[in-house]
């Protein structure tokens, strides 16, 4: 499939369009699609000024960045020195960051242009973008349905044509699942491939930064820029990401995870996934049916480890140094209690309470430590599968996008939407959701491809082949 990013940069370099035109067009579509509520803020003055600077560079024949004149948006949990950074939470309603996240710095250095900030579930807690303090984002294909989440705004911004790519963050599926729900590519790199510096932390051991794009090739282009050490994130691996240009090995061994095409999974989702497996087999891949027995514990593990980590990471939001402080609070305990009560959404509070509980004295061994041990078992199962398989295949989510409000009263049902994306997150593995047709109502379905640790370039290369097969 043709890269949107390459189209734009080639046209700008050839003088067929300008950065200014690209930004104007993006802002125009953003305005037209305002009712989807993908964006929390747009930066018209800033973006047009940047575009003019870049156009001047083009005109003067100066050295141009790899993303020259390409407009993009970032999920609003990325610190940006322009505009606000709210994480879609009231406690950061007034927060303006003095610095840019590393990912933003790297993209800007390549002459990409940030035109706005995208909606999300507050502090990225959720799978539908309904937990935003500023109201939900609507699905780009069916506006009565959810965008998925937590990077719902980023996915819809790409799917609705506002920008060719958007930054998201993925802790348990937050890039892949909204990618799947809106029919775009959502890529979660290996844990530690891209610096997390300047991204409002959710769970330190599974948070990753990644792009939402229309093609796997665009995911490669953006990832190549984002990957690598920056000196600000001690968990980043030494630079290893090298895009592959060769076509996929015809003899790739693909493991289809049977546990995720079983009962309880939407029939169309199952059908499309199995059909894709067949097509891959016809294209020369060896298809193996594999099982991941620990997967049934993945959500239980995730909802202990992740709340524990996020309860810790959210402790800094105390109303003391920045953010919104409750004005009625008369003493220090009230400053904490009342400001946090005002500033967090119900789902934030639910997870902070779970996290604080599982870390509390006397429960740590029974919950947190046990979950970490189970996590190791899950990782071992993945490693075992990769002894025989190059890549794993399963749906990205058990269903297509559900209706707005359908699951809001039932957190457990909401959590199930992450059942297939959570296992690779817990294992730190790279995974990507690529569009895999639609259901009978035309709702997008995603296929999740999972790679081995650090085989990001191989996985993306494979994803390009999958795209070709799906579109053939």
């Amino acid at each position: 499939m043709q890269s949107k990013i390459e189209q734009i940069t080639a046209n700008i370099k050839a003088g067929k369009t300008t950065a200014h035109e690209q930004v104007e067009q993006a802002l125009k579509i953003a305005k037209e699609k305002e009712s989807l509520h993908a964006l929390l803020e747009t930066f018209e003055d800033y973006a047009l000024k940047r575009a003019d600077e870049i156009d001047a560079k083009v005109k003067n024949g100066e050295k141009l960045g790899r993303l020259v004149g390409v407009p993009y948006v970032a999920k609003d949990n990325f610190l940006t020195s322009v505009g606000h950074t709210t994480a879609a939470a009231k406690i950061l309603d007034n927060f303006e960051s003095p610095i840019d996240a590393t990912a933003i710095q790297k993209l800007n250095a390549e002459d990409a242009i940030l035109i706005g900030k995208a909606n999300l579930d507050a502090f990225a807690h959720g799978g539908s973008t309904e937990n935003s303090a500023y109201g939900p984002t609507h699905n780009a294909v069916d506006n009565t349905r959810v965008a998925g989440g937590s990077s719902g705004g980023s996915a819809v911004a790409v799917a609705s044509g506002i920008v060719p790519f958007a930054l998201g963050s993925d802790t348990g599926g937050s890039i892949r699942q909204p990618g799947s729900f809106n029919g775009v590519v959502g890529y979660k790199p290996t844990y530690g491939m891209i610096s997390r510096y300047g991204v409002v932390a959710m769970a330190s051991s599974t948070d990753v930064v990644g792009p939402l794009t229309t093609t796997a090739q665009d995911a490669v282009i953006v990832s190549d820029i984002l990957a690598g050490q920056d000196g600000h994130d001690g968990t980043v691996h030494p630079d290893y990401f090298k895009p592959q240009t060769t076509t996929v090995k015809k003899k790739s061994v693909i493991g289809i995870i049977d546990d995720f095409v079983s009962d309880g999974v939407d029939e169309d989702v199952k059908k499309n996934t199995l059909e894709l497996a067949d097509k891959l087999g016809q294209a020369g891949c060896e298809i193996k049916h594999v099982s991941l027995p620990m997967a049934k514990y993945a959500l239980a593990i995730y909802y202990i480890v992740v709340p524990a980590e996020l309860s810790s990471n959210l402790a800094r939001f105390d109303g003391i140094r920045y953010g919104v402080r409750n004005k009625e609070a008369g003493n220090i305990d009230d400053v904490y209690g009342m400001s946090r009560n005002d500033g967090f959404m119900p789902e934030n509070k639910r997870r902070i309470m779970i996290g604080s509980y599982v870390l509390s004295s006397g429960f740590y061994d029974a919950y947190y430590l046990k979950a970490q041990k189970a996590r190791t078992l899950l990782i071992n199962e993945f490693n075992k599968l990769f002894e025989d398989c190059d890549y794993l295949l399963c749906p990205t989510a058990p269903t297509p996008a559900f209706k707005l409000g359908e699951n809001t009263d039932d957190p457990l049902k909401m959590y199930l939407a992450d059942a297939m994306t959570v296992p690779p997150s817990l294992a730190g593995l790279p995974a990507i959701s690529v569009p895999n047709g639609t259901d009978e109502n035309g709702l997008p379905i995603g296929a999740q491809l999972i790679g081995q640790m650090k085989d990001d370039a191989g996985l993306l290369n494979f994803a390009e082949s999958v795209e070709d097969i799906v579109n053939a």
Binding site: F78, D233, G234, S311, A315, I320, R321, I332
Partner: protein
């Protein structure tokens, strides 16, 4: 070890005769946690300047120390190097793998809402501190952590200063091997020396570079350890000793009157000289410790540890042994050890010119350096002469080119500049005259002088002790430069033969 020690999970080890520690039949058992601020250039996890003395509040703070959203800690390797060297000074093992954990509590001095510390796998394991008394205290472990900020409370508001937030600390946790206020103080003083000698801290107690938490319990010998009370944040050796003594007495009195000791934290009121209850265990915080996933484990091979501990300075215990061997007085040794520069200079003098010269220099240091210059600043400002110059001075004294009194004057001058001692002695006319003809001339003048007549007569009559007065007369004429030994011999000779 004796059989009188208490049984407990972490059994106490007692040197020598434990009976000497008993008070009213109770054995005090004390463990000390000591926080040491490491003197790295930057903070433990940020590039902020780590030296905030005299700095404007919140001027040594980066986004990381301020806990902006999305900020990540990046471990300062130099802090690990210093901690590993501190571990050597403590005779500890260094863990091949250590990790950082988060300790949670809400307080405005803690911007992240958690302190990064090492709960489960500390860097420094075990160890032992030998005290000058011959006793020793075992170290349980020492861990690396970050300091918190500082709060200043006013009547209706509180101000937060985060300059100190993120300063690297090691917390040294002793075994409960201490049994008196005196021993607690000796341990604190020795730790202070060790950390300064290892070069890991500025060691300025007044500025909180080292702070002590003292845990005290008492029990009858042979019985399980008593319930402990902890006194936090003591910042002087005197406070460590006094607070410990007070707390031992308080607990014994409670027990003797049939009461019960509750686990608690107590503060030390310096003015009133007593400990006061701060909080009991029932309302202790739950810190919800968890591993910090943002910081990869610290992995150190044996080779790396050796590299980090290379070029290690001589420690106080070794100096103590060396100086005692060459007959330096205990009181002088204390003066020398109190300032690493002095101990080093004496040891180097010994290496270069032998025991006698070293002892001379040791005594000069002890008698000539003003004791009021015992502050950390004065110690740092002290500009000692080079060892070559010290050796030359020792040689001049040895060869009687200069009297011991004049030697002190020359030494005082040497502290002010770089002049050679011989140059100073000449300039100030302090060189001893050992030229026999010059001395003979003065001796003859003294014998002939009318005011000497009585003394000369007395000496001839067998009153030996007047010789001193006569030598004094020669010294006076020579402005102190005559070699008094030679003058005395010559006087005796001349007066005996006449």
């Amino acid at each position: 070890m004796t059989s009188i020690g208490n049984a407990g999970e972490h059994g106490s080890e007692i040197d020598g005769d434990a009976k000497k520690y008993l008070i009213d039949g109770y054995l005090p058992t004390i463990g000390i946690e000591c926080h040491v601020q490491l003197n790295t250039a930057t903070k433990l996890f940020s590039s902020a300047d780590n030296d905030a003395r005299d700095a404007e509040p919140n001027s040594k703070v980066t986004e990381i120390d301020f806990a902006l959203p999305g900020m990540l800690p990046v471990l300062n390797r130099e802090a690990i190097r210093k901690a590993v060297r501190a571990g050597k000074a403590l005779n500890s093992e260094i863990a091949h793998v250590s990790r950082f954990d988060r300790k949670h509590y809400f307080y405005p001095d803690l911007p992240k809402g958690y302190q990064i510390s090492q709960m489960y796998q500390p860097l420094i394991i075990g160890g032992r501190v030998d005290l000058p008394s011959g006793e020793h205290v075992r170290i349980h472990h020492a861990h690396v952590e970050e300091d918190a900020g500082k709060l200043t409370h006013y009547s209706d508001h509180t101000l937060v200063d985060l300059n100190r937030a993120g300063t690297p600390l090691i917390e040294i946790v002793s075994e409960p091997d201490i049994h008196s206020g005196t021993m607690a103080r000796a341990y604190a003083e020795e730790l202070h020396l060790l950390m300064i000698y290892a070069g890991v801290t500025e060691g300025d107690l007044y500025n909180g570079n080292m702070r002590f938490d003292v845990n005290v319990s008492v029990a009858k010998p042979g019985e399980p350890l008593g319930t402990r009370a902890e006194m936090k944040n003591l910042n002087s050796f005197r406070a460590v000793e006094k607070a410990t003594d007070y707390e031992i007495q308080r607990q014994i009195e409670v027990l003797k009157s049939g009461g019960e000791i509750k686990q608690q934290t107590r503060g030390w009121n310096e003015v009133e000289g007593k400990t006061v209850l701060q909080r009991t265990k029932e309302n202790a915080e739950d810190y919800r410790y968890m591993p910090d996933a943002d910081i990869p484990p610290v992995v150190l091979s044996n080779e790396k540890i050796a590299e980090l501990q290379a070029d290690f300075p001589i420690m106080p215990a070794e100096y103590r042994e060396r100086f005692a061997k060459i007959g330096v007085d205990d009181s002088v040794v204390r003066v020398l050890l109190n300032n690493q520069k002095l101990a080093e200079a004496v040891a180097e003098t010994q290496d270069m010119a032998g025991d006698k010269a070293a002892k001379r220099i040791a005594n000069l240091f002890s008698s000539c350096l003003p004791s009021e210059d015992d502050t950390d600043q004065a110690k740092k400002a002290l500009n000692l002469p080079s060892v070559e110059h010290l050796v030359e001075l020792a040689k001049m004294l040895d060869e009687k080119k200069i009297s011991s009194t004049n030697g002190k004057d020359v030494f005082a001058e040497m502290l002010k500049g770089d002049d050679l001692p011989i140059v100073i002695a000449k300039k100030k006319k302090l060189l001893q005259v050992s030229d026999s003809s010059a001395i003979e001339k003065m001796v003859d003048e003294v014998i002939a002088a009318p005011e000497s007549a009585k003394a000369v007569a007395d000496f001839k009559a067998g009153q030996e002790k007047v010789l001193g007065w006569l030598v004094g007369q020669v010294m006076k004429r020579s402005h102190g430069q005559a070699n008094p030994g030679m003058a005395g011999e010559m006087l005796r000779q001349k007066l005996s033969t006449k």
